[in-house]
Structure formats: structure tokens, C-alpha cells
């Protein structure tokens, strides 16, 4: 039985964990860090960079570095969120073939799931390096408030990365699993999860029998740390504009530097009261005069800039509690998840609203991945009796006459579930109905997310309202939505399994899987070459270091000159091989190099 890893695919940082014995552990990456920046870049040479290495070059390569791809995943090109991203992103976003979004890196277009798959692939490699064995199964987390299209897109990203995503679970739920594991308690808790890009609040009931039941969950998929950063960036840009009358937004590199500085300052202000933002040579004026940006940001200023964002999260908490039919006093613990919850103003607001200090026992950056690993283990392992009962974060229904949204499965319904409703025709002599499956809470169907559609034909010709059609919605344990429509008169039925659209077709995904595999091969070849090259270069350097000395000892004899000449040939060949970037070729020469080096060493030592 293969190991199942848990991946927290975050907006800004990702994290991978695995069960070791009865406890989950976070797997550090090669750099020793427990989280990896969710960034992907393509260098001038066409090389792909993921994680810290991508982040490090982001400023100099802003146009080809993708960050916060999670904010775009599963969204339609025409959505307001994408319009917003178009304004603020330093990388290029273009329209895809299926009303989806593509990201252009060095003239090549990538779908958003593809970008996310690169991050997932990186997490997979981190886990494989650590475990020393291939990993194929994973539980991946998403914000609780993600809709089905976004979930499907995330699942597709896993598929492209060569992972069988056995379950998508919600981030706050995962956090609760990690919090409750082995505690053997009956408690009602809240999970306040403010991450890089999204905000979620979940109310859960933990039972000592191992059941974790989500009572209510709600959130905002466009409210997170990035919005706090954006407020600081706005503040900096605005100040700079007043001072120099220059809009820093026009310069992508400057914008990226501002963003970096804003994030850094925000983090610092969680522990200190004020910090300096110092960005020399941020931009040059039309007269080629370099301008510098230098400002001091205090904690109070930051809190003033972001007050409404914090208030908004508390409002959402209020909604969640009212959905759960609970009062703040009914909660027995509050867990904070996500890096943003380190901000003192947030901790204060949460303590005040829930009337209790938040729990400090969980690591806000790692707890989600730990929970994902726990769930993965619980699913495949027979001995565990842990069961997770989650809810639908959004209502599901169909569009009826006049773009009205008719809800079948309400928000916060425990899954698996199913509901049935009877509808009638809306026109005289209507012989077919189109069932538009939608997700969302808006009465106006157009404002909700379209998940899928199908047509039921062969209805009897009759006056409107006479023919009855029974529509059944079903969500199974895996979260797959199926919709059945039945003509009650003729018994004729139609159904679809709503495979939410990630914006990619099956063929596209298959192609991407191949590309991802190619990348892995390429990457392995690269690593191979690098290793061989390093070995060869080390030897070459050693030989060259010894060369003058050896020449001094043997250079006087013909044999010696001959030998030196041969040594030079060996070196030249090796250099050529390195030049040709062929790992195998280099290896052929490494032997010769090593012998030469040994001989040289012998000559030198004998001479002394």
C-alpha cells in the first residue's frame, strides 16, 4: 500500500505532510524549509523554476513569474475576479479557448491548473525524496468556499502532476483534523482560516468516537493576505505619486519590489511596532534620474489601512454561526490557521468576537497539510475509525424561467445528500427543457456558477405548467454532483454526472500529463548532467592546479612532454563534453580525468 501524502496547496505557500506512525509530520524541502512558495517561473533559457528559487528571481523576472495562481484557478475569463487580477498581476493573463484563463510565460501559454500542477509536482518530489519511494496518492486541500469548478480544477492539477487525488478536503476542516487527532474530545470548535488569498470560517463538532462533523462553513475566496499586502502597496504607491507624481504601477519590476516589501513589512509588524520600507532606485524619471522610496510603516497605520478587511472576516464569522444556529458562547475553542492570523489586530478581533483567546496549539502554516495527511491515512488505512463529515459550501440548484435560481440543496448541507423537486414547463407546447445546473446563493441565476447542463426532450405537448418534471440532485461521498431529470408522465429520464469544468478538456489534460512527464525526464537528465559536470569540473580544476608543478618535474623529458600533451588532450575532450551538455559523454571522460589526476598527484608527491 503506497503512502498517501497531504498537500496544502496555498495561495502564497504550499506544504506537504505524511503520516509517520500515528502522527503526521511536515516534510521539509531541499532547502530545509517546511513551506515552499507557490511560485512558478520560466527563465530566459526556458528553464522552469518552482518554489524558493522562483521567488528569488521574481523581481528580475517579474513578467515570467507566476504567484497566487490559486486566485485564478477554476475561474471564467469573464469573471470580475479575473478582471481584477488583470489589473494587478505582473505576469500576462490571456483568454483561453473555453472561456478560461491562460498565463503567458515566455511566449508559451499555460492553463492555471497546469501552473498549479507544477507546484504539486514539486511537493510530490519533495515527499519522494524524503520517503525514498514513489508517491502516487494525495489528499489536496482547498479553501472551504471554493466552488465545484475550482475544486475540479485543483483535482485536474493533481492529475497533471501525476497524482491520484483521492479526496479534496477543505482547509479549515483539515486544520480541525490535525487539532482534534488523538484528543478524544467532544467539542464544538471554530476554525478561523485567513490565508494568503482566501478566508474561511468553519464550525465543527468533534466527537470522541472519531467523527468530525462540519456544521457550517462559509468564507470569501477573494479575501486574504494578498489583500492586506495590496493595501500597503496602495499606500506606498499613493505616497510616491504625491511626492514625485509618478505611478509606480506602470513599472512591473517596481510593482513586484513593492509587493515584496509590503509583505515583508506586514510580517515584521506582527512582532515590532514599526518598520522601514526602503527601496532604493525604485524607478528612474524621464530625465534618467533614479528615485528612491523610503517610508516608515507603523502597526497603527497598517491596522488603519486594513480595518475593514478584518471587520469583514468577523462579519463572515457571524454568518457562519447563524447558519450553524449557534452563539459565540457555544464554541469551546477557536483555532487560527494561515499566516495572516499572526497579525495582532486579527487575534484581537477574533478574541473579542468569540469572547475567548484563540488556541495557540497549532502551527498556522503547517496544520492544514498535517490534516490532509491524516485524512489520507484515515481513508486508506482500515484500522482507523476517523470519519470526516463535511458540508456543501454553496447551494446547488437549477435555473428556472426568468433566470431565477431555484435551490435544491441548500448551503451547509452535510454530504452525501440528495434532494428532489418537481418543476413544470414554462411555455405552451414545450417539448424539451434545458436543465442548467448552478451553484451559488444568488436568486439571480446568472450571478451563480454554471456547473453543467443537459436537455430533457420528448415532453408531451401541453399547456404550460401541465407537464411535470422531477429533478433530483445528488452529491455522493466523493463530492461528485449528479443530476437526474424525469418526465413524470412518460417516465423518460435524463441525467448527468456534473463534472465541474476546470476549463480543460480531457484531451488537454492528457497532453499536459505527458508534458509534465517530459519535464520530469528533462529534470532528471538535467540533474544527471549537473552531477557529472560538477564531478568533471572538480577533476579538471584539480588537474589544472597541479599542472605547473607536474610540468616542472617531468617537462624536461620527451616522455614527460608527451604525457603532458596527452593530459591536455584529456582535459580538452572533457571540456568539449561539458560544452555539449551530454551527461553520458562527460562520464566517459571522468575516468580519464580521474586517472590523470591520480598520476599527477603521484608525480607531485614523489617530487617532494
Amino acid at each position: 500500500m503506497g503512502t498517501v501524502i497531504g498537500i496544502d496547496l496555498g495561495t502564497t505557500n504550499s506544504c506537504v505532510a505524511v503520516m509517520e506512525g500515528s502522527a503526521p509530520v511536515v516534510i521539509p524541502n531541499r532547502g530545509g524549509y517546511k513551506t515552499t512558495p507557490s511560485m512558478v517561473a520560466v527563465t530566459e533559457a526556458g528553464k522552469r523554476l518552482v518554489g524558493h528559487i522562483a521567488k528569488r528571481q521574481a523581481i528580475t523576472n517579474a513578467e515570467n513569474t507566476v504567484y497566487a495562481a490559486k486566485r485564478l484557478i477554476g475561474r471564467k475569463w469573464n469573471s470580475p475576479q479575473i478582471k481584477n487580477a488583470l489589473l494587478t498581476s505582473s505576469y500576462n493573463i490571456a483568454e483561453g479557448p473555453h472561456d478560461d484563463v491562460r498565463i503567458i510565460l515566455r511566449d508559451k501559454s499555460y492553463s492555471v491548473p497546469e501552473i498549479s500542477s507544477m507546484i504539486l509536482q514539486e511537493m510530490k518530489i519533495i515527499a519522494e525524496d524524503y520517503l525514498g519511494q514513489p508517491v502516487t496518492q494525495a489528499v489536496v486541500t482547498v479553501p472551504a468556499y471554493f466552488n465545484d469548478n475550482q475544486r475540479q480544477a485543483t483535482k485536474d492539477a493533481g492529475t497533471i502532476a501525476g497524482l491520484d487525488v483521492i479526496r479534496i478536503i477543505n482547509e479549515p476542516t483539515a486544520a480541525a483534523l490535525a487539532y482534534g487527532l488523538g484528543k478524544d474530545i467532544d467539542k464544538v470548535i471554530a476554525v478561523y482560516d485567513l490565508g494568503g488569498g482566501t478566508f474561511d470560517i468553519s464550525i465543527l463538532e468533534l466527537s470522541s468516537s472519531g467523527v468530525f462533523k462540519v456544521i457550517a462553513t462559509t468564507g470569501d475566496t477573494f479575501l486574504g493576505g494578498e489583500d492586506f499586502d495590496a493595501r500597503i502597496v496602495d499606500w506606498l504607491v499613493h505616497g510616491f505619486q504625491q511626492e514625485h507624481d509618478i505611478d509606480l504601477r506602470q513599472d512591473r519590476m517596481a510593482l513586484q519590489r513593492l509587493r515584496d516589501a509590503a509583505e515583508k513589512a506586514k510580517c515584521e509588524l506582527s512582532s515590532v511596532r514599526e518598520t522601514d520600507i526602503n527601496l532604493p532606485f525604485i524607478i528612474s524619471t524621464g530625465r534618467n534620474e533614479a528615485l528612491h522610496l523610503q517610508r516608515t510603516l507603523t502597526r497603527e497605520t497598517l491596522e488603519g489601512l486594513t480595518e475593514d478587511l478584518i471587520e469583514r472576516t468577523i462579519e463572515i464569522c457571524r454568518d457562519a454561526l447563524s447558519d450553524a444556529r449557534l452563539e459565540p458562547k457555544d464554541l469551546e475553542d477557536v483555532i487560527l490557521v494561515g499566516g495572516m492570523t499572526r497579525m495582532p489586530a486579527i487575534q484581537k478581533a477574533v478574541s473579542e468576537y468569540f469572547n475567548r483567546p484563540p488556541n495557540k496549539g497549532v502551527h498556522p502554516d503547517e496544520v492544514v497539510a498535517l490534516g490532509a495527511a491524516i485524512q489520507g491515512h484515515a481513508l486508506v488505512e482500515e484500522k482507523t475509525d476517523m470519519i470526516l463529515l463535511d458540508v456543501t459550501p454553496h447551494a446547488l440548484g437549477i435555473m428556472t424561467f426568468g433566470s431565477h435560481f431555484e435551490e435544491l440543496i441548500p448551503q451547509n448541507t452535510t454530504v452525501p445528500t440528495s434532494r428532489t423537486k418537481v418543476f413544470t414547463t414554462s411555455r405552451d407546447n414545450q417539448t424539451a427543457v434545458k436543465i442548467l445546473v448552478m451553484q451559488g446563493e444568488n436568486d439571480n441565476a446568472e450571478k451563480n456558477e454554471l456547473l453543467g447542463e443537459f436537455i430533457l426532450t420528448g415532453l408531451r405537448r401541453a399547456a404550460k405548467g401541465e407537464v411535470e418534471i422531477e429533478v433530483t440532485f445528488e452529491i455522493n461521498t466523493d463530492g461528485i454532483v449528479s443530476v437526474f431529470a424525469k418526465d413524470l408522465e412518460t417516465g423518460q429520464a435524463q441525467s448527468i454526472q456534473v463534472t465541474a469544468t476546470s476549463g480543460l478538456t480531457r484531451e488537454e489534460i492528457d497532453k499536459m500529463i505527458e508534458t509534465a512527464k517530459d519535464y520530469l525526464v528533462e529534470r532528471r537528465v538535467d540533474e544527471d548532467f549537473e552531477a557529472a559536470k560538477q564531478e568533471a569540473e572538480r577533476l579538471i580544476a584539480e588537474i589544472e592546479r597541479l599542472f605547473p608543478e607536474v610540468e616542472g618535474v617531468v617537462g624536461s623529458s620527451d616522455f614527460g612532454r608527451d604525457a603532458l600533451g596527452k593530459a591536455r588532450t584529456v582535459l580538452d575532450h572533457a571540456r568539449e563534453a561539458i560544452e555539449a551538455r551530454g551527461a553520458a559523454q562527460i562520464r566517459q571522460h571522468v575516468d580519464g580525468l580521474a586517472r590523470t589526476q591520480r598520476m599527477f598527484k603521484g608525480v607531485v608527491s614523489r617530487a617532494q
Partner: protein, 569 residues
């Protein structure tokens, strides 16, 4: 034989004696199946007889067993000691009807020297079925243990009939903690994730259904307010149960005929023909009403679907066709059971009682005189018999009317409206020219109507708040039938409108409401709304105009009219 029945693969169910099937919440099909349960037909036979698919029959039988209406031999008795068993066997074929010996504990001891004492019989009858039946859908190739499969099948079959408490397996009064405990522990068995990656076949769907139901029960019962509402609703359902299913029509004439016939045959068999006619009703009653329900009559080969058995207070009052075990002891030799079913023997026995020679067996003696005298005597006896019989029939009927009225009164007093109503219905059909009884029945009917309509109203409100609009509409309608009110009628109509079905019915209800209170604008607007929804804009306009006449200058109505006019009406 009884032991072989007990171990047989296909088990035959028996009807359980003394169960009042009318009080059971049965579906029409279940009642139909029950009517074919005779202890000799197995599932396949019942399936053939009813035309209902075998798996369905199985489920119905399980449900019936759950309700205590039928039982399997395995649950009835471990085979009695050898002699007793063979005694049973011999007695069985001659027992009237298809009901076998074991289901008629009252019968066997009288016929044989079977040792089974009444106490034991009683105990055995009530023993619940322990064995897990082998269900046709159990699939051993799945990676789900057979026990779990059986539990899943069993529970999914019963789901529609269980209330929230029964689903969770907790008593009515269970506290929140107990409900949560039950729920969380059941999740472990019935959540598909417990068997992740396993081959589950169709069981995943079933588990999901069960899970959904468990969750609903838990969610409703773990919240104080929704629980209170639900309990009130359950109360209302119990009070009103029995009226709604078309499977339980009011007692038909045939039904009564059957009952009367039974009573007549009793009268005919009466061991005291010499006593003067018109027996005081009080006399037989105590002895008949006395036997505990368990050993009372086995329901006559059930035809529940067509003619339901009498309401709860009734069965003890029906004289059993055979004396109960205890009462049978003094005269087993007088009326051996074997003879009862034999018409010739019965006639002979009857004749003996009247001091006559067995007519049909002996050829008539050649003596003319004797012959004539004999004929006269015979006709006199027959006439007398006929008279007594008629008289007794009327007496029994009158007595029964009184009984039913009394039962209805008791029902009203005990708050058991269903039983009361049923009793009244029977009484109503039985009552002849007795004006006094008639008046009493009418009075009781009115009294009950009021009570019931309260319950229906309560129920309707709960259903409406729960989004069960069709159910709510029906309950509102029934409430209005009990105590007519335009508001209740309007509520019924609007519930149908919300449900989007039965718009014609909704229109009728709304019209009725308008007729009751023609001066109320709101009722007319309701009706207009329904007309519009039903695609009858002209009628809607007419109704709106009338409403406007009642409330001149209402902008709302004017705008509405304008909208309809724009739509081209």
C-alpha cells in the same frame, strides 16, 4: 414438520395473532402482502400471488415483521418435544383455513393433548426474530461483510417508515447526548468512507441514503427548537394517522357483512340454544372481552388491503370463533375441533343438540305418520331456529352499535382520535333506526372533527415550515374539512401553489375560501394568484376586478391588472 419449516431456506411468515392491523402504518402494497401471508406461502408464492416483485415482497415482509404483524417460524418456537410436534402436525391439516397450528395457539390444545401450556405459547409468540434473513441482494463478492450488508439492506428497507428516533435507535425521550452518541456510533457503520477503496457495489448508494437520513434525524433532534417542532409533529401524525392513506378505506359494506356473518355463525354455534332468545348483551361480554389480546383470535385470513380489520378497541369484543385456550378446557370432548370444519358433522352435532336424529345420514323411516310428524316438527324447529337466529342477529347488531359508540367515546376520552373515528364510522354503517344512537354518533363526529382539525392544523404548519408543501396542503385541507375556515382553505391552496402541483385543486380550495368569505380581498387575491399560475389569466383578471371592487384604489391590484393586460389578456 415444524422443525423442518424452521430450518428451511425459504421461510414462510405467519400472521401474528391478536394484532390489530388497522393501527399499523402500512403502505397499500404492504397490506396486500399481509393479506397473502398464511404461513404456507413463501416469498416467491406471495410474489406470484400479488404480482409484486420478490425483493419487494421480502422488504414488505421485513417491515411487517418489524411491526409485529407477521412472524417467521424461527421466531415462534424451537420445535416442541417429539410427541407434541407430531400432534400438531396431525391437527394442522384439519384446521380451518390455511392458518397453521403454530399461529393458532388457541386451537391446537383443544384438538390434541399437545403439552404447550398457554403461558409458554404466549411467550413464544412475542419472541422477536433473532435470525438475520438471507437477502437475495447480499453479494459475497463485495468487500463488505455479510452482516454489514444485511444491516444495510434491512435499515434501508425500513427507512421510509421510521421516525427520527427509530432511525437512530433511541427512545422517544432520549437526551441530546444520547442522540449524538447514537448518531456518531452509527456513522462508523453506515458512512461509505469507512470502506474507502473497497468494492461496495450498490451498497454505496444505500449507505449514502441511510447516512442522509441519520444526519437529518440527528440535525433535527439535536437542536432544541427543531426537536420540539418535530415532536409536536409526531404527536399530530399519531393523532391523525389512519385517515390519510387511501389503502385504508372506511369499513365497507362487504366488510360489515363479513363481520356479521362471523357473528351469525357464532350465534348458530351457540351452545345454549334452549335458553330464551334476546340474551342480555352484558352476559357474553365479560367473558369475550376478558381474554388477553395475545391469545385472542388469530385475525381471520387477512384481507387487509381491501377490508381493514377493526380498530383497536374492537377485536376483544368479537367473539372468537374458537374458545381461548383457558376457556376451552372444560369442554374439549363436546366439540372436537375436527368436527367444526366438517359441515355434515356440524349439522349432526347441531341436530343432536336440538334433540333430532341426524337427518342426512339416516334414510327416512317408511312410517307415513311418523314421517309427517317428523316433518312438522322439523319445520317448527327450523322456524323457531330461524326466529331466534334473526332475533339474535339484531341483538348482536344493536349490541355492536353500542359497543362501537362506547369505543368511540373511550377513544375520545383517551385522545385516540383515530380509533374513535374508525369506531364511529363502523357504528354509523351499522346503526339502523335507532334515533338515539344516531344522534349520539353525530354529536361525537362533530366533537372529533374539531379535535382532529386542530391536530391537522398543527401538523400542516410544521410541514409547511419544513418545506413539505404538498403534505402541508393535504393536512390543511383535512383541517378545513373538520372545521371549515376560509383561512385554512387559503393556506391549503397556497401550499399547493408553492409546491407547484395540483393547481386545479388549489383553485378549488381557494374558490371555496372565497365563497365562505366573499368580502375578503386577500382571499380573492390568493385565488387570482393561483389562476395566474395555472395559466388562466382571464379568470385571474376577473377575480382581480372583484378584489378591486372590494378595495377600490389599491395600487397593488391595479399594477397587477396592468401587468396582466400588458401580457395580452
Amino acid at each position: 414438520m415444524s422443525s423442518s419449516v424452521a430450518t428451511a431456506r425459504t421461510q414462510c411468515y405467519h400472521p401474528v395473532a391478536g394484532v390489530n392491523v388497522r393501527t399499523l402504518p402500512l403502505l397499500p402494497e404492504q397490506a396486500f402482502v399481509l393479506s397473502r401471508v398464511d404461513g404456507q406461502s413463501d416469498e416467491a408464492a406471495i410474489s406470484r400471488a400479488t404480482g409484486i416483485p420478490a425483493p419487494q415482497v421480502f422488504l414488505h415482509l421485513q417491515r411487517l415483521e418489524e411491526l409485529g404483524a407477521v412472524q417467521r417460524p424461527a421466531s415462534i418456537a424451537p420445535p416442541p418435544p417429539g410427541k407434541g410436534a407430531s400432534g400438531d402436525v396431525r391437527a394442522t391439516p384439519k384446521a380451518p383455513g390455511p392458518v397453521p397450528a403454530m399461529a393458532r395457539p388457541t386451537n391446537a390444545p383443544a384438538a390434541t393433548t399437545a403439552p404447550a401450556p398457554p403461558a409458554q405459547t404466549d411467550k413464544l409468540v412475542t419472541t422477536p426474530a433473532p435470525a438475520v434473513p438471507r437477502h437475495p441482494e447480499i453479494d459475497e463478492s463485495l468487500s463488505l461483510s455479510v452482516e454489514v450488508q444485511a444491516r444495510i439492506l434491512d435499515l434501508s428497507a425500513r427507512l421510509p417508515d421510521l421516525d427520527h428516533f427509530e432511525v437512530l435507535g433511541v427512545p422517544r425521550g432520549a437526551d441530546r447526548a444520547a442522540i449524538k452518541r447514537a448518531y456518531f456510533s452509527m456513522i462508523g457503520t453506515f458512512h461509505p468512507d469507512s470502506y474507502f477503496g473497497k468494492k461496495l457495489g450498490g451498497f454505496t448508494k444505500r449507505m449514502e441514503k441511510i447516512f442522509q437520513r441519520l444526519t437529518e434525524a440527528h440535525d433535527v433532534l439535536s437542536n432544541a427548537r427543531s426537536r420540539e417542532e418535530y415532536e409536536a409533529y409526531l404527536g399530530a401524525v399519531v393523532r391523525t394517522r389512519g385517515f390519510e392513506t387511501p389503502s385504508q378505506p372506511p369499513p365497507s359494506v362487504e366488510d360489515l357483512e363479513r363481520l356479521l356473518h362471523q357473528a351469525e355463525s357464532e350465534a348458530r354455534k351457540s351452545p345454549a340454544p334452549a335458553t330464551p332468545p334476546a340474551p342480555t348483551p352484558a352476559a357474553p361480554v365479560p367473558s369475550v372481552a376478558a381474554p388477553p389480546p395475545k391469545v385472542a383470535v388469530a385475525p381471520p385470513p387477512l384481507k387487509v388491503g381491501i377490508a381493514p380489520a377493526p380498530p383497536p378497541p374492537l377485536p376483544p369484543r368479537l367473539p372468537p370463533p374458537f374458545p381461548p385456550v383457558g376457556a376451552a378446557a372444560p369442554r374439549p370432548s363436546l366439540r372436537p375441533v375436527q368436527m367444526v370444519n366438517d359441515p355434515v358433522a356440524r349439522r349432526q352435532a347441531l341436530a343432536r343438540k336440538f334433540g333430532m336424529a341426524p337427518v342426512s345420514l339416516k334414510p327416512a323411516p317408511p312410517d307415513e305418520e311418523k314421517l309427517r310428524a317428523e316433518a312438522a316438527r322439523q319445520s317448527a324447529v327450523a322456524k323457531d331456529l330461524q326466529q331466534r337466529y334473526e332475533h339474535r342477529k339484531t341483538a348482536i347488531r344493536d349490541h355492536r352499535v353500542q359497543r362501537f359508540i362506547q369505543a368511540a367515546e373511550e377513544g375520545v376520552a383517551a385522545g385516540n382520535s383515530v380509533a374513535a373515528m374508525n369506531a364511529l364510522r363502523v357504528a354509523r354503517t351499522l346503526v339502523g333506526n335507532d334515533a338515539e344512537a344516531d344522534a349520539r354518533i353525530t354529536q361525537l363526529e362533530q366533537q372529533l372533527g374539531t379535535t382532529l382539525s386542530e391536530s391537522y392544523l398543527q401538523r400542516a404548519k410544521y410541514e409547511e415550515s419544513n418545506g413539505q408543501h404538498v403534505e402541508a396542503a393535504r393536512s390543511y385541507t383535512r383541517a378545513a374539512r373538520g372545521r371549515p375556515s376560509p383561512d385554512v382553505l387559503r393556506s391549503a391552496a397556497e401550499c399547493y401553489l408553492k409546491a407547484g402541483t395540483e393547481l386545479r385543486l388549489a383553485g378549488e380550495l381557494a374558490r371555496e375560501a372565497v365563497q365562505m368569505a366573499p368580502d375578503r380581498t386577500d382571499l380573492r387575491l390568493s385565488l387570482a394568484k393561483i389562476y395566474e399560475a395555472a395559466g388562466m389569466p382571464q379568470s385571474a383578471v376577473r377575480e382581480l376586478e372583484r378584489a378591486l371592487a372590494l378595495t377600490p384604489g389599491s395600487d397593488k391590484i391595479k399594477q397587477w391588472l396592468k401587468r396582466l393586460e400588458r401580457a395580452g389578456v
